[in-house]
Structures are given as structure tokens and as C-alpha cells.
Symmetry: C2
Amino acid sequence: MTIQEQLDILRRGTTEIISEEDLAAKLAKGRPLRVKLGVDPTAKHVTLGWAVPLRKLRDFQRLGHIACLIVGDFTTMIGDPSGKNKTRPQLTREEIAANVEAVSTQFYKILDPAKTEIRYNGDWLGKMGFEDVIRLASRYTVARILERDDFAKRLREERPIGMHEILYPLCQGMDSVEIDADVELGGNDQKFNNLVGRTLMQQFGKEGQVVMLCPLLVGTDGKEKMSQSLGNYVSVVDEPNDMYGKTMSIPDDTIENWFELCTDVPMDEVRAASADCNAGKANPRDLKRRLAREIVALYHSPDAATEADAYFVRTFSNREQPVEAQETPVPAGLERDGAVPLAALIATLGLAASNGAARRLIEGGGVSLDGEKVSEPQAAMAASDLRGKVLRVGKHQFRKLV
Amino acid sequence: MTIQEQLDILRRGTTEIISEEDLAAKLAKGRPLRVKLGVDPTAKHVTLGWAVPLRKLRDFQRLGHIACLIVGDFTTMIGDPSGKNKTRPQLTREEIAANVEAVSTQFYKILDPAKTEIRYNGDWLGKMGFEDVIRLASRYTVARILERDDFAKRLREERPIGMHEILYPLCQGMDSVEIDADVELGGNDQKFNNLVGRTLMQQFGKEGQVVMLCPLLVGTDGKEKMSQSLGNYVSVVDEPNDMYGKTMSIPDDTIENWFELCTDVPMDEVRAASADCNAGKANPRDLKRRLAREIVALYHSPDAATEADAYFVRTFSNREQPVEAQETPVPAGLERDGAVPLAALIATLGLAASNGAARRLIEGGGVSLDGEKVSEPQAAMAASDLRGKVLRVGKHQFRKLV
């Protein structure tokens, strides 16, 4: 494959490559490139959003390159020492390893394990002394660190920035130095940190890494970035019907973007189909069905995609209850005062990320029982009354409670 | 002695005590207080400027307290890793210890060795790992660090601040935590750093140190802060006649301030004498002679003070050359092309801090040979021609070259 052909594949679904000339030069060397992606060891699910850079990694692997996943155990072990950031809980090395073990199986739905290296940054950052830190810090100016959008904003708004927070970008940068990254992948929000890595590598007399930025995939709500805490996500281990159904719930104007970021369908084809829809020559629903089939086929199988599609047509095309909702026992142990809170039930069945998210779904009118909308977030019902009813969460998730 | 009497002694010659109530409370405990002063291990001379906080330490010692000198070997061992700061050369542990050994004898002209503790901050800072640094950094915000005057100014003027520089105040603060300082002494320019120590101690659950700030002594030029690099200094190991002569060269409007910061003469007495001068009832020269005698008596002896005074009267009161200038051989090895550069001669004899400072003195008209002003900074003369001549540097330093 020519360099240009490789670039065409790698460029898909990226917003910025710094710089494409450097990437071309690295590809021209003819050796496997080391492509870095930072991994947060606190998350439990690989979502389609997280899958965006992972799929880009897989593109690199298909071209013969190495995926280097950097587990940020060093910073996670420390947590946020100021105790202010709840998204950075303090975890032990063992908990972190267990989390990584758990998501690894999900990674390998996308990545080729034979071409994947998993490294823990505590292995090098944990060995640095104060003296090393000062030498490292001397390589960067305060002004450049404070250029980072969120730092600049907080400083302007006089909201506190802990001194330790401005050290984190240097930690990430050291990771690139340590593993000799050729390329670092990241979401758009990582541009600054990744460029710190590029600069630090150059300061250490190495070739600076190429920075490739991927857009942040919008969630099924069509509004916010896909995230596990917002509950607007599709996990790569969702059951086929759920994966299909959640995909069918996205707004029409996000279809093209999802095709680009979540599938391998050639973009010319997608744009043509999309134009047909806009011109009224085709139905967006059919294009979305194609999208949903592609996604299920990727993470399950083409057969599973066909079945999920058939199930969807049978059940939703005529806007009825599904005739064959998946049977699910009411989990034991949820009762409070003899009744099962619906929010807890929804969260326990994995149909929402948390009790809070489930309550918000109820408030938003997204939950019904046997076709009757539930309006009270604190609603509860005896397990015996729940059995036999069809629970509907969002547009496309159903469970027949037994 | 009552707390109030102790406070009266300790308050002399300080510009700010944060806070006096806290200091009174600490004194009321009746145990020896630990009084910290940071010491830069790169300097060779204890000047009267440096002596200001050292003398305040001695005041504490006389009241039964402990002087804790903190040698900043940690930061000096690192130097300025950005290589931009020439005043922070990189020194080895051995060189630092040798420097401290050298200035210790000068310290003990002021301090009581039995009540002095010398600690090296590398002993604790050198043991901190990256993780400890991040935890430490989390205790302070970027905004608070950037409030420091010189940081704020550089940021405003878009001049670079290295990331490592903003870690230094935390290092100094950790010193206070480590040694359990009750009080930290510093020049006015150290206010911010010393307050970081006070805050950090409180964050570590300790009682915050009291911060006592001493004014910066103005040099013999009456303009700039006394400093070894500017050459406007009096060293505590200067010969009596030089010490006396340099003191006599200060402008009249600094006399009162020098009395306050460099002697133990009661300020009521000084102010009364100063008022007499201002009213034309006394001659400032006589007040300055008293000052010079006091200083020589402190660092040499009352007899030496009397002799230096007599020498001064004999030689300068009638504005003549000294009749008995100290004989000094022309040092060997200074010739260039058969002639001794005067600037090198002046620096080698210790009459200026460096060749550059000596050249500036010549340019400023401050150097003469046998009463004839030298005007050319690059002036040089054969050693044989120099011998027999009287070299005058500044107003009051003379050497008869032999």
C-alpha cells in the first residue's frame, strides 16, 4: 500500500493531525510505528465513544503498527489529592489491574492482542524523585501550561487550579518520552496534553510524536458527549437488540457522523445515501437501520445484526410493544418496605448507568410499564406485581419481567 | 523578662511580624522557640546585609531560643535546570558543605554555636518521590503562587516562568514543616515564600510559623540593596580600617537606618542624635564615626574600633592621602603583556567583587594611584612601576603597593 493510501485510511474520522507531513515521513520509514493511547483505569465499559480512538488504533494495527495502551495507574493511585474531583477516585494497584483486566476483553473486540502493548505509567513515573520532577518541570513554562483552555477559563473565572493539576500534563508527556511514541491518539479535548508530549520528546532529543485527534462522539441523546455517567451510551458489550435499539434512537442529524466514527462503510457511500435522504428520495430510518446493522455486525456478527434488524422491524416498525421482549427475572434483594423501586430495578438490569440516571429517565418520561408511562421517580411496586409486565426504558429497550 | 520586654527587643529592625499576637503566644509557652533562616550555600561572605537577620536570630538566642539555619543544598544541587539563572550554579554536596564550613566561622561572629542547628534540606526534599510532590502541590493553588510579585510581573510582561520555579516556594515551605519552625526570619523579598511555609504548616495540622521580615540593608552606595555582586558591601570579616572606612562612605541619610539594622545602640539615642544633626546642632560625620566604631567593635573589638577611628581621623579628616596606608605586595601572575591590569589588581586584592566591578569603579572615577585619578577601565602598568604607589579604591580603601 502506498503512503498516500495508508494516510487515506488513517485520516478518516480525525479532526486534526499534527502534522500530516510528519506522519507521512514516519510511515515512509517502513518500520512498525508505536501508537499511544491513554486509558483511564476507572471505567467499566468500552463505549462506542471510547471505541473511536480504539478503532483508529486498530486501523494502525491493520497497517502493521503497534498499539501502546498506557494505563494511568500512577495518577489514579494518587487520585485527586485535593479530594475535590470525584471522577478521580483513589484506587489501589490491584483494583486498577482488575479494571484493566475487565475492559481488556472489551478492547480486544476491537484491537488485535498480538499487536497490543499494555504499559502502566506508575512503572516510570513512580520512580521519579523530587529532583527529577524539578528537572522535568524546568522544561515547560507556566504560561504555556496555563494556555490550556480549561485552565485559562478557570483562572479567568477565579476558580481554583491545584498546583498538582498542572503537573498532570507533564506526566502524560513523560509517558510519550518513556515509550518512544511515534503517534499519540486522543479526543479533541486532549490536544493540549498530547502536544506537551510532542514538545517534551523533542526536548529529550527525540523525534516528536505525531498528534492525531478524534472527535468526541455525541451520545444517543444527540446532544452531549457519549458518557457512562450521563447514560447516553452504547457499550460494545451491549446485547445485539439493545445495541441496535439504542442506535435507532439517535437523532437523524447524527447518522452521518456515527457512520464515520463507528463503522467502516466508505464515506462516499454514506454521503450519497445521506444526500438521498435530504432530497426526500430515501427514508432516514432505513439509513439508520443500515448503521445499526453495521454496528451490531462489528461487535457481534452479521447474523446477529440480521436478527436484531428483524426483531426491530417486527416490534417497532408498527410502533407496538415488542412481541417477544427478552424475559428477565426481577432481581432479588431490591425491595424496600416490600416494594421494588423502579429506578433501582432499571439500574440493576443495566438499562441505566445508575439509580440517579434511572430517576432522570423516569422524570423525562422515558420509562413505562405495560405501555403506561411511569411519572414518579421514586415509584416502587411489589415484585409480584412487576412479574408479567413489560418494562420499557427509552425508545428501544424492553424487558419482560418474570 | 516579660513577654512585652522580649517583644520590644525582637521587634527592633523588623518591618512586619505576621502576627505579633502569634509571636506573643509562642513566647508565652516558655519553651525555646525554633527560629528558621534559609541560607544560600553559594555565597562566600557574610555581609552586613546578611547580618541583619542573623543578628535578629542572635536576639532570639539571647532570649534562650534556637537558631535553625536551613542550607538549601537540595535546590543548589539541582541548580537552575533551565540553565538560565546564573545565580543558581550547580554545586556538589561536597562543595556546598565546604562553602557552609567557610561561612560558618563568619556566622559564629554573630551567632552562638551552642544554640545553632544547621540542617540541609536535601535530607528531606531529596527523599520525596513524584507522588509526594503531587500531594504537596495539591495543597496550593496556581493562582496563589502566581500572586507572588515577581511572578505576577513576569506573567504580565509575558516573560517566561519555568514550571520548576513555582515549585521552589513549596520546597521552602516544606522546610518549615520538616523542622517545626516556630518563627521564620527573612528579608522583605521573602514574605511570600515564608507565608507559604506558614500555610503549609497549618495544612499539615501544625501551628503556623510566625513570619518576621527584616528590611533589606542598603549598600554603601546608598542606593542598591547591599550585595556581593554589586560590590557595595561590607563583609563581617573586612579588616577594621576597611570596615570603618566603607561605613564612613555611606550617605548621611542612611545613617539612622544602619544604626537600627547593624548595631545595638538604643534607637531613642540614635533618633535624638539624628535630630541634633538635622537641627544643625551636631555634625553627621561624628554620628557616622560613632556608627563605624560600633560596627568595628561588634566584629572585631572596642580597641580595634578606637584604633580604626584614630587612623581615620589622622588620614581623612584633613582629606589627605593616608599617611600609613596598609602595605600590600603586588600579587604575582597578573601581568598581561608585561603589565598588570588595574581592574584585575583591585579585584585580586579584594577591593572589588570582580574584574567587572573594578572596571565599573574605574569608570565611575573611584580609583586613583598616588592621588591621580585612573580613567581608563583597561588601564595597566608594569608591576615595577606600581610598587611604591598608593592605590585608592572608593573613598576609603587604600593600599600602599610594595
